[in-house]
């Protein structure tokens, strides 16, 4: 899994490439936690490069969204592939997380 972090004003975009599963979730959580601990609690998870997520990936997302919200921010998802979106829907995540078509829309949502 490759994680690329990019700042766009007050929003931090975390682009993930690869699958988010039991073998990679810890690395993702550490990376996201680092961002929040560093004061970046408005996160956009760019999932355009994620082709799979298992239960471990869902737990990583939930942990991060709780973390960001406790710090006054949020984790919003962008460019989620259909196969990943189906898992998010099946597990009810689309009812607790905001999902946007692309990164720009997700970034702009923080200004609204």
């Amino acid at each position: 899994m490759v994680i690329v972090v990019e700042k766009r004003e007050v929003v931090t975009i975390v682009s993930i490439d690869g699958s988010v599963d039991g073998t990679t979730a810890r690395e993702l959580v550490s990376s996201l936690r680092e961002q929040v601990a560093g004061g970046s609690s408005r996160l956009v998870g760019n999932l355009a490069g994620v082709d799979y997520t298992s239960s471990a990936g869902l737990r990583a997302l939930l942990e991060t969204v709780k973390d960001t919200r406790q710090h006054g921010g949020d984790l919003r998802l962008a460019a989620v592939r259909p196969e990943v979106l189906r898992v998010l829907e099946l597990s009810g995540f689309t009812s607790i997380l905001q999902v946007f078509d692309d990164v720009d829309a997700a970034v702009a949502s923080f200004a609204a």
């Binding site: 699958s19 599963d21 039991g22 073998t23 799979y52 298992s54 239960s55 471990a56 869902l58 737990r59 939930l62 196969e83 189906r86 898992v87 829907e89 099946l90 597990s91 009810g92 995540f93």
Partner: protein, 312 residues
């Protein structure tokens, strides 16, 4: 006077129903080893996609340590656990699951529902005569018992009186399947011992918890949401629609809970059907299996990596 809750528990235990068992099964492989489970949820004929999953696991030499089936999934879980090949299972489904199953009405139920004061309503209510499906289940599974299974098998139903998930792991496979597929309003609830059971999807359409309870740490799931109807043009379709709404929401809620509450790795295999698959579209089984195989192949790299990581 009805039996107390405690006495019902004892009776259930005698029958091999683990609904109320309190102690999780030990991990035979010991700490750190993989224990792979396949959970086949409800979804009528779509559950045949599990045969495609089986093909992929077989080809890759990934062995299944336990298998759980619910509702339509109970048929395939049983066949896989009893060692039937995908081709045999496909043939069994073709012979077993046809439109004729719902052709004959169960008139006593109709009369009891319409004129309860005269005929006396009973809880064993179902609009369809279940003689044919029972006959066919007998032909398909005969006297098979859970104890005959090559892979430990768990089939689920729902206790009609308590609403609790019931898990069968001993005794007659036919009885357990019949209980597991007791579709509300369609097939009568099924009595085993002193308990009355209805379809497993009513308590958990994808019983991942059973696999967790029995020590699985890698759980491959295949289950389907119930289809919605654009128009409910009959009482039965109206009932189906309500049932779909409830079971789909239950599926999501339970699935979310199991994904988040445990450290087990749950890998959903979700076949995408370009064609509509209706309740009795057994002619589409080859296509359903193909899509199941395709969906399983897509997730194979992650499953392989996960198993390798856990074993190292």
């Amino acid at each position: 006077m009805p039996p107390s809750r405690a006495s019902r528990r004892r009776e259930a235990s005698d029958l091999g129903n683990e609904a109320n068992a309190l102690t999780p099964a030990p991990l035979p492989g010991g700490e750190g080893s993989n224990r792979v489970a396949v959970v086949i949820g409800s979804g009528s004929v779509k559950c045949a996609a599990a045969l495609g999953l089986l093909k992929v696991l077989d080809r890759e030499g990934i062995s299944i340590d336990l298998i759980v089936g619910c509702s339509g999934g109970s048929l395939y879980a049983a066949m896989i656990a009893l060692g039937r090949s995908a081709a045999e299972a496909e043939e069994v489904t073709r012979r077993l699951w046809t439109r004729e199953l719902t052709k004959r009405r169960h008139y006593p139920s109709l009369f009891r529902a319409m004129l309860p004061k005269i005929f006396g309503f009973t809880e064993q209510f179902g609009l369809v005569d279940d003689t044919l499906i029972l006959d066919r289940l007998q032909v398909a599974f005969g006297e098979s018992k859970f104890e005959d299974a090559r892979i430990p098998l768990y089939l689920t139903a729902t206790d009609f009186h308590t609403g609790e998930l019931a898990v069968f792991s001993q005794g007659s496979v036919v009885d357990a399947i019949r209980a597991s597929i007791a579709i509300p309003y369609v097939f009568r609830p099924w009595k085993i011992g002193s308990h009355l059971y209805v379809d497993g999807f009513l308590s958990d359409p994808m019983p991942v918890g059973v696999a967790i309870k029995h020590g699985a740490n890698v759980i491959v799931t295949m289950g389907f949401e119930s289809p919605y109807q654009s128009h409910a043009t009959s009482v039965l379709k109206f009932a189906f629609q309500l049932s779909s709404i409830m079971s789909n929401n239950l599926l999501r809620a339970n699935y979310a809970f199991h994904n988040l509450a445990h450290h087990t790795e749950i890998l959903p295999i979700i076949p995408q059907f370009r064609e509509h698959i209706h309740l009795f579209d057994t002619d589409k089984i080859p296509y359903v299996i193909e899509e199941g195989e395709r969906a399983a192949e897509q997730q194979l790299p992650y499953l392989r990596r996960l198993l390798a990581a856990e074993l190292s």
